[in-house]
């Protein structure tokens, strides 16, 4: 076996051009695979993040007549207890109301939060164009579209008509832009107390919202939550059930990315295999005499398996370096006007290790064909021809 390794090494060293060509082939394959994989993963992560990163991923709401959760402190407590995966739990008192600006009346959604909790989900602070959060009673922040429509500026008062017909004035302490126009257009965000008063909820809330660390486990966690909650008359929604089309889009993207990666690998595999098969023919004299001298078929085959293994290993290492270089160039040159890359790259160490391993594995598999050829080679055929 050691001898097979020695011979393999010498063969590779003596055919430098050929060796470099194969290594280059493997490296390019690995680099492309790594680049595409990282790109698609980055794309998906950023897509998921923009879509659901700043919204409730699991929402507990009430199914009783008045749609309120009375014992919401218990719900929060139980959700907290259930899983370390659950984070950013926030209660909200929501309900429709109308906004009355001089010439018109429009419907809005009153959303009352404990603002420190809700900010972790909705990132109001980051989204504030001006002003500050409405911590005090009868204060509010509104979206920029609603602000334009109602001509309400900072520190102006807007008039909200409650479902029961009462008029309540709220002071605008901030204008936000959450980058979703329907929110900017309809949300009137207040503290919990204000919303509870407008919507006559007493001290109840209408939903408990939360996020999860592993967003793709939201459905499982929601199911567990539903099962463990001691409060009756609740339903638990999760983003996955509400965004089936996004999920199937992501899925399609993953599948096509896998396809590309598989075909790149197959191309690399065929390349290595054919070059190594040629090298069996090139080295048939050497193999013939080694067999005449008594090398076993297994050891003769091992020469080529070792070649495949070494080529795969070196190719994978260089390929990963190439891949990083490619990703680096991409993040430096394919940028949006603000200097951020067009697609944020996601470096997944496990994935990169896996694609390197796959290259080594496929190079070894590719070497099995020439290994078999060499095992079949009959020494007298070579010696007769010589």
């Amino acid at each position: 076996m050691r001898l097979s390794f020695d011979i393999a090494l010498r063969f590779l060293k003596s055919g430098k051009g050929q060796t470099l060509l194969i290594i280059l082939g493997i490296s390019v394959g690995v680099a492309v695979q790594m680049f595409i994989g990282s790109l698609i993963q980055g794309l998906q992560i950023s897509l998921v993040d923009t879509t659901i990163g700043s919204s409730s991923q699991i929402t507990i709401s009430s199914v009783n007549k008045d749609k309120t959760i009375k014992n919401w402190e218990r719900v929060v407590y139980e959700a907290n207890l259930l899983s370390p995966n659950i984070k950013n739990i926030s209660v909200s008192a929501d309900g429709p109301a109308n906004i009355d600006y001089e010439e018109d009346i429009d419907s809005v959604l009153i959303r009352g939060f404990n603002l420190d909790d809700a900010d972790r989900i909705y990132k109001f602070k980051e989204g504030l164009l001006e002003g500050s959060l409405p911590f005090k009673k009868d204060e509010t922040i509104i979206g920029k579209e609603l602000s334009t429509k109602s001509k309400a500026k900072l520190n102006d008062k807007i008039v909200i008509v409650t479902p029961s017909g009462e008029q309540i004035k709220l002071k605008v302490t901030g204008i936000f832009d959450l980058e979703v126009s329907s929110l900017n257009d309809t949300w009137v965000v207040t503290n919990l107390e204000t919303a509870q008063e407008i919507l006559s909820l007493d001290s109840n809330v209408t939903s408990v919202e939360m996020q999860v660390s592993d967003v793709f486990k939201a459905d499982e966690i929601a199911k567990q939550l539903k099962y463990t909650l001691s409060i009756e008359d609740t339903k638990v929604d999760n983003w996955k059930d509400q965004n089936q089309s996004l999920l199937s889009g992501l899925n399609g993207q993953s599948v096509s990315s896998y396809m590309i990666q598989v075909f790149v690998l197959v191309a690399v595999l065929l390349g290595i295999s054919s070059v190594l098969a040629i090298s069996v023919v090139q080295r048939s004299k050497q193999l013939g005499i080694l067999k005449a001298m008594g090398i076993k078929d297994k050891d003769a085959s091992l020469i080529f398996v070792f070649q495949g293994l070494m080529l795969g290993l070196i190719g994978a290492i260089i390929g990963v370096c190439f891949g990083f270089a490619l990703l680096y160039v991409f993040t430096k040159f394919a940028v949006k006007p603000d200097g951020n890359p067009v697609v944020p790259i996601f470096i997944n160490k496990g994935f990169i290790a896996l694609s390197g391993m796959f290259a080594i594995l496929s190079a070894t598999i590719a070497s099995l064909i020439p290994a078999r050829l060499s095992s079949k080679l009959n020494p007298i055929e070579v010696i007769k021809n010589g």
Binding site: L3, I289, M293, G294, D297, I380
Partner: protein
């Protein structure tokens, strides 16, 4: 003296559809320590005969005994071991591995059996290299030697495992007459000093005359068997 090689009723037929018989009922014995030559025209079947003795080829029927052991029924793996331990080959072409140096080539048959080379084997390799007069070029790659040097390396390589039999197929076919003389005196010395049996195919009448026994093969049959 004991027979190191014994052939009984060897027939060799090539081809499936169109059958070509190359050897007809060959019965031959070679004694230990003998120095033999096989002569014959090209196509007479002498190389086939040598390949059958060397277990590189199998007879269509008949029995082959090497050192009292029947070989035509052994599997490939057992034959590999047998060839490695009891036989040395010298061909018309040297078949050195161009990727290795002269000394590495000489050690190759030993390493095929066991990778680690003990000191005495290493010294034996040097001794063989001196014997064939290659001390100066022993660390040259096989490609950086003259034809004669390459062939002498191949001879040293054939001897590294101290085989009982050396099979040589036109070992000097590619060499000029001076080198040929030199190579044969080396072979003759080895035969004398190491008690190695030689079976040498040659077309050179003068060389054949220097051997102890001349066997002529004609059309697949033994035409002449001359002992000195």
């Amino acid at each position: 003296m004991a027979n190191i090689v014994e052939l009984k009723n060897i027939n060799k037929i090539y081809g499936d559809k169109i059958k070509t018989q190359v050897l007809y009922d060959i019965n031959l014995r070679f004694e230990e320590n003998s120095f033999n030559s096989i002569i014959g025209e090209s196509g007479s079947g002498k190389s086939t005969l040598l390949n059958i003795i060397g277990t590189l080829d199998k007879p269509t029927n008949g029995e082959v005994f090497i050192d009292q052991n029947r070989t035509d029924t052994l599997d490939k793996k057992a034959l590999s071991v047998l060839r490695n331990q009891t036989m040395g080959f010298i061909f018309q072409f040297h078949y050195l591995l161009p990727e290795f140096t002269a000394k590495e080539n000489v050690l190759m048959p030993y390493k095929i059996n066991s990778y680690k080379v003990p000191k005495e084997v290493d010294e034996w390799a040097d001794e063989l290299i001196n014997l064939v007069g290659l001390a100066k070029v022993k660390n040259n790659l096989a490609t950086d030697m003259s034809g004669g040097q390459q062939q002498r390396t191949a001879i040293a390589r054939a001897l590294i495992n101290k085989p009982k039999i050396i099979l040589a197929d036109e070992p000097t076919g590619n060499l000029d007459s001076d080198t040929t003389e030199n190579v044969y005196s080396i072979l003759k010395n080895i035969n004398k000093n190491f008690k190695t049996t030689f079976i040498i195919i040659t077309h050179d009448q003068r060389i054949a005359e220097k051997t102890d026994r001349i066997i002529e093969i004609k059309d697949g049959r033994i035409n002449l068997d001359l002992r000195k």
